[in-house]
Structure formats: structure tokens, C-alpha cells
């Protein structure tokens, strides 16, 4: 099992589009992946679960993965959080 802390840095928090990206990323791995906020634990492959974490900007979450590719999974998700789900960049180039 592998664990790491991540922080929501993008403006709108873990909203629908960000959650979609997260789930997309999580689904690339075979490991089971969870996001944990306080006492709520959500399957990172379930978008509803991610949305219901209701994590606005600044929230610190724990990522936990367990399985053959747990390290890569945690790293990929960490990176996604750090880059704010690539929001600002996409926003600028597309709007």
C-alpha cells in the first residue's frame, strides 16, 4: 500500500471537470485507489464519490493506492493535484 498527501490548488476546488480528469487518470491503473478527506473515503475511480468529497481549494486529502501499480498511481494523482488539474493552462488556450 502506498499513501501520499495532496492539496487542492485549483480555484474551483474538486469540481466536475477536475473530478472527471481525476477519474480518468485513476482508471489508467489497476490498483484500487482511494481519496480520503477527514473521515470520508471515496473510490477515486468513482466520479460521484470524488464530487461528494466536496473539496474546495485548499483542502488537504490523502491518496491511498493498493495494487501492482500503486506507486505510479499515487505519483500520477499527486501530479494532477499539483498542476491544478491543468486548469489555468487549458482555460487560457481555449477561451
Amino acid at each position: 500500500m502506498k499513501e501520499a498527501e495532496v492539496k487542492v490548488v485549483n480555484l474551483r476546488g474538486l469540481h466536475a471537470r477536475a473530478a472527471a480528469r481525476l477519474v480518468q487518470t485513476a482508471n489508467q491503473f489497476t490498483s484500487q485507489i482511494w481519496l480520503i478527506r477527514d473521515n470520508i473515503q471515496s473510490d477515486a475511480k468513482s466520479i460521484l464519490g470524488v464530487l461528494l468529497l466536496a473539496a474546495p481549494k485548499g483542502t488537504v486529502l490523502k491518496v491511498r493506492a493498493s495494487g501492482p501499480d500503486e506507486e505510479e498511481a499515487v505519483r500520477a494523482i499527486q501530479q494532477l493535484f499539483e498542476r491544478g488539474f491543468y486548469e489555468e493552462a487549458t482555460e487560457e488556450s481555449n477561451e
Partner: protein, 608 residues
């Protein structure tokens, strides 16, 4: 018969078309399923999910083409929802365990998630329920086979009328028919429908009670997304007026492509700062796009309409203001404390406050804010905190006495005290300004510098109260004019007095974007004008052509005149003689008497 229906402006623009009802709601009922039919029911559900996913993917391509990949991600999220095991298993388990039809099982899941989302504290994240619901309702429709076929005339211009509209239905309809406007019973400014409408530049109005009773189906309507009006069965003259109004705005969009970085400066070197008036925080992008040098007036009322039964929290205010000043940085952002009351009061508050017999001059704005401190205090606290992130300035509406100013400052002091105790970071002294919109206050400007840092002239209310004429009275439009010499004199007094005592002064009513008034305002030496973002390019171009010396001369003459009609005539003649060949802008080249009259008639109605 011609009828005016008032709502809330959701997306700017003018639309004209035949009304078309859109009722998306489908109702599921529980039906028992025999044990041997359970598997077939589950199969039916899975097929419906597949169909819904196919539809969403098609739509996603369409959105990506029209609006770019980023907006298409809204639909990505929905596609993911239809893959979500929690949902799929939730429905299938219910079909199996409770032996009910797929529709009802899905309905139960929808309700379950509805309650879980309602419990979310963050407003923006809570709103995401709309996307969940949108995705699941699509499956519901596929299950019921009730997806309404779109057999509408593809060439006719239509105005959609709906109680509510999901983003995906909206996109679908836009792709299928010529949607020229949107009239909704419910939709908040932050909803995806509103954001999409603004991106698609489709005018939209919401907040119309019992919309299916108020706006008839199959009738011609004009929709004014700047002011939030819907005119049912308009007269040919009204259609004409609105067409010309629309032309102006289209012209401006073209103009803004060019030279948006230039500044408004007269040929003899007088610099006028042009700022934007905005209703919703997310209009900041447009404001910058049109070349605004800041936000001169952010009307914050919409935040109070976002929650059906409560006030917005300090945190909810804070996030909006912080984001806004951060985006605008280093430009200034003037946020007006909510001007609630008059015609703008959330339903639940209306029920708790005594009825005003004359709400326009009753318990509204600062009067309400001082009496019910819970309304403004969180807002002020949020402003002080957000001021850490940029140039935030606080504007207080509808002030009629210095006592009110003092009491307001007291309230700010209380808020500071509380913030200090809680240890949260904040800016203790952002500039505070007073709105000059009650005539009495215009004569008190000389005293205001002792208490505040700036004044902002709200010409809409100022003219309305000075001339004692309702600004939205159809039959009295001819009276509601900024050219009345007394009005000009009063505004000039405010501009002069403010500058004498070192207060910054800004004009933020419709007059600030009125072509005929511009030479006079330049003549007065008014350094700041704030207007609907779309007007900025044309006003900037115009100012670049008007000498301040000419403006001063015109002002001097205007102040000697006895009648507003004389002033108007003089300004018109001046513009025509000054630009006999017409100038850069068709707006002015084509300007003749009827254009001016209709222009004034249509612009003199909006709120500030």
C-alpha cells in the same frame, strides 16, 4: 397585446423570435417486476445507459467544435458519471432487491444523491448536482423512450421557454434549432446554462415566476438580456428599436477585435479611464476582453439570489471577491454592497420583511443593510479579506445622509474588530466610496472627504429621483433624460466638488455610455466612466475624437439653456457638424434624430 415581463439578466444580448416551450421533466412511477423479469430489467437499464452515453459523446464533439475543448469537459464529467460503478450498481441492486422497474430504481438513486449533494457546504461544488442530475435524467428519458423528438422548423428563430434547462439539453437544442433567446423560471448566474449562454452569446433572462403562465407559447417575443426584460408581442416600433440596439452591440464586438489596448484620451490630452459595470463575477473576462481598465461597479446582488432560503456566508462572498480581484489584478475592482430591496429582494427575505408601500424609496440598500446587519456584515468582512489579494474598493449604495455614512463606517469597524480577533488575514483600510444617486447627497460631497475616499455617481437613480420620473415607465420615457439642464448642473457640481476636496469621482450610470452625453462629461472633466463592458470600445473611440475644449464649450452652453430638448438638439447638431462625413464608427455615421431618440429610449432603462 404587448406586455413587458421582468426577470433577471442572465446573459447579455437582444433576441427576437417565437416562443417555444421546453419541458424536460419526466416522472417515474414505481412498478413491480416479476423475479424472472429482473435480469431483463437490468438489461434494459444498461441499454439506456449506453444510449445516454452515445448521446453525450456526440454532444461532446459538438461542444468541442463550437466552444473548445475546455467547455466540453463539462460533458466529460457526465460521461464519467454514467460509468460510475456506484451509480450503476446502486440502480441494479435496487432493481434486484426491491424488484422494481429500472425507472423507479434510478429515481431512488437520483433522490439519494440529491440529498447527499444538498449537504455539501461549498456552493459551487453543491451546484455540480446539476451535472449529476443532467446525466441521470438523460438515462431516465432513454428508459422511458420519452426523449422529445426535435421536429421543429430549423429555420425559424425561436426563444426557448423552460422552467429549468440542463446544459446538455441546451447544447442539443442550440445544435438543432435557431435559438435566439432563453427565458427561464430558474437558473442562477453560476449555473452552467448561464455560463454556456454567455459563451454562445445567446441572450437569456431568468427568475420569471410561473413562466409557462406568464410567457405564452408560440408568440413573438423580444428578449433583452442586458436588462432582463421580455416583451411579449412587441409592437413593430419596439422590434425596430431593439434591432438597432442589437446592431450597436454586434458592431462593438467587431470593434473590440481591433485596438482593445488603446486608451481613451481626447486629442488635447485629457485621459478618461473606462471601467466596466458587471452583474456577475464571471463577467470579468468579458470586461478585460473589451478593454476595461478595471471594474467600476460590481453589483453583488446576485449572490443573494443564489440560495433559496438563506444569506450567502462570509466564505461564499470571500471566494467570489478574492477570485475577482485576483483575476483583475492590478486593476481596481469596485464592489458595491448589495442594493437589496426595491424590486430586488430574494423571495424568502420578502416573506420576512414588512411590505413596503413604495419600495423604490423604502427600506432598501444601506437602510436595510444598517437595520439588518447580518445582511452586509459577512459581505464587508469578505471584502476586507479579499482586499489582501488586489485593489478592492467598497461602494455603498443609496446613501442619503452623512449619519448613514458614519453608521456604515461603524459597522466596518465592528467587522475589523471581529476579523482581528479571529486572526484571519485582511486589509483594514481599502478605499470606501459613497454612491451619489439621491439628489440630496449630491450637495454633501464637500463633506464626504472627511469620511470616505471616493464617490460614484449613479445617474440612473439620480435622474429618476431628481426628475421624479420612474425610469421604466413606458409612457414617460420622454421625461427621463440626462439632458435636463438641472440634471447636468447637479452632476457637474458633484464632479467639481469631489475634485476640489480630493475625492476620486466616477460616473457609473447609463449616461456614462450615452454618446450624446460624452462631450459634456468630458467637458466636466470627469476622469472615470463605468459602463456595460460591451460599450467600452465605442466610447473609447469616440473620446479619442472629442476635444476637451469642445466639451467645455458645449457644457457651458448647455448649462445656460432652459430646456433639455435644446441641449439634446445642440449636441446632436454638434456631432453632425463635427463629423459631417461620419467617422470611424457606423454608430455615429448613421446617427440621425430617430436613431438618437430610439437609442435613448432603449438605454435609459437599466439598473445601477
Amino acid at each position: 397585446m404587448t406586455r413587458l415581463v421582468r426577470g433577471t439578466a442572465l446573459s447579455p444580448g437582444i433576441g427576437y423570435g417565437r416562443t417555444f416551450y421546453w419541458a424536460a421533466h419526466v416522472v417515474a412511477v414505481p412498478i413491480g417486476v416479476e423475479p424472472d423479469q429482473v435480469q431483463a430489467e437490468i438489461q434494459r437499464f444498461r441499454q439506456a445507459v449506453q444510449q445516454a452515453k452515445r448521446e453525450l459523446k456526440e454532444m461532446r464533439e459538438k461542444v468541442a467544435r463550437i466552444l473548445g475543448v475546455y467547455k466540453a469537459h463539462i460533458l466529460d464529467a457526465q460521461i464519467h458519471m454514467l460509468r460510475d460503478r456506484a451509480i450503476l450498481e446502486g440502480v441494479e441492486t435496487r432493481i434486484r432487491d426491491q424488484r422494481v422497474n429500472a425507472e423507479w430504481a434510478l429515481e431512488l438513486v437520483i433522490r439519494d444523491y440529491y440529498h447527499r449533494f444538498q449537504a455539501i457546504e461549498d456552493a459551487y461544488l453543491r451546484e455540480r448536482w446539476q451535472d449529476v442530475q443532467d446525466a441521470l435524467r438523460r438515462v431516465q428519458r432513454a428508459l422511458m423512450g420519452t426523449r422529445p423528438p426535435l421536429t421543429l422548423p430549423e429555420t425559424e428563430s425561436l426563444v426557448l421557454v423552460a422552467e429549468e434547462l440542463t446544459p446538455s439539453d441546451f447544447v442539443e437544442l442550440v445544435g438543432a434549432i435557431r435559438v435566439r433567446g432563453l427565458v427561464l423560471e430558474q437558473a442562477s448566474a453560476a449555473s452552467h446554462v448561464a455560463i454556456l449562454a454567455r459563451s454562445l452569446r445567446i441572450p437569456a433572462v431568468s427568475g420569471i415566476q410561473r413562466v409557462f403562465e406568464t410567457v405564452p407559447s408560440g408568440h413573438k417575443v423580444l428578449i433583452d438580456g442586458y436588462e432582463g426584460n421580455v416583451i411579449v408581442d412587441p409592437t413593430p416600433l419596439q422590434v425596430q428599436e431593439y434591432r438597432s440596439k442589437r446592431k450597436y452591440f454586434i458592431e462593438h464586438i467587431r470593434l473590440l477585435q481591433q485596438e482593445a489596448t488603446e486608451v481613451a484620451q481626447t486629442p488635447d490630452g485629457f485621459r478618461v479611464h473606462l471601467l466596466a459595470n458587471i452583474e456577475f463575477a464571471d463577467e470579468w473576462e468579458q470586461a478585460i476582453e473589451y478593454g476595461a481598465e478595471g471594474i467600476g461597479l460590481f453589483r453583488s446582488e446576485y449572490l443573494y439570489f443564489m440560495y433559496p432560503d438563506r444569506l450567502p456566508s462570509e466564505e461564499e462572498h470571500y471566494r467570489v471577491y478574492r477570485d475577482l480581484v485576483t483575476h483583475l489584478h492590478p486593476r481596481p475592482v469596485v464592489i458595491r454592497t448589495a442594493d437589496l430591496g426595491a424590486e430586488k429582494l430574494p423571495q424568502w427575505m420578502q416573506e420576512r420583511l414588512p411590505r413596503d408601500s413604495n419600495p423604490l424609496i423604502g427600506l432598501r440598500a444601506i437602510r436595510l443593510g444598517l437595520k439588518r446587519r447580518e445582511i452586509w456584515e459577512p459581505q464587508i468582512a469578505a471584502m476586507l479579506r479579499a482586499a489582501v489579494h488586489g485593489d478592492l474598493r467598497i461602494l455603498v449604495p443609496f446613501v442619503s445622509t452623512i449619519e448613514e455614512v458614519l453608521e456604515f463606517l461603524d459597522m466596518v469597524e465592528d467587522v475589523r474588530h471581529r476579523l482581528r480577533k479571529s486572526g484571519v488575514e485582511f486589509e483594514a483600510n481599502p478605499p470606501i466610496g459613497v454612491m451619489i444617486e439621491i439628489p440630496a447627497m449630491a450637495y454633501m460631497v464637500r463633506h464626504l472627504h472627511e469620511f470616505v475616499q471616493f464617490v460614484s455617481i449613479g445617474t440612473n437613480d439620480l435622474i429618476q429621483f431628481m426628475l421624479a420620473v420612474a425610469r421604466d415607465h413606458e409612457g414617460l420615457r420622454y421625461l427621463y433624460k440626462p439632458y435636463h439642464p438641472a440634471v447636468l448642473r447637479l452632476i457637474y457640481t458633484v464632479v467639481q466638488d469631489a475634485q476640489d476636496v480630493g475625492l476620486e469621482v466616477n460616473i457609473c450610470g447609463e449616461m456614462a455610455s450615452d454618446i450624446l452625453s460624452i462631450p459634456l462629461l468630458v467637458g466636466m472633466g470627469c476622469p472615470q466612466l463605468s459602463m456595460t463592458p460591451q460599450w467600452i470600445p465605442a466610447i473609447r473611440f469616440f473620446i479619442q475624437e472629442v476635444h476637451r475644449a469642445d466639451g467645455e464649450q458645449l457644457l457651458e452652453q448647455a448649462l445656460q439653456m432652459r430646456m433639455g430638448t435644446e441641449v439634446e438638439e445642440m449636441l446632436l447638431e454638434w456631432i453632425q457638424s463635427r463629423f459631417p462625413e461620419g467617422i470611424y464608427h457606423p454608430l455615429i455615421r448613421k446617427l440621425n434624430r430617430t436613431d438618437v431618440t430610439s437609442r435613448l429610449a432603449v438605454t435609459n432603462g437599466s439598473g445601477s
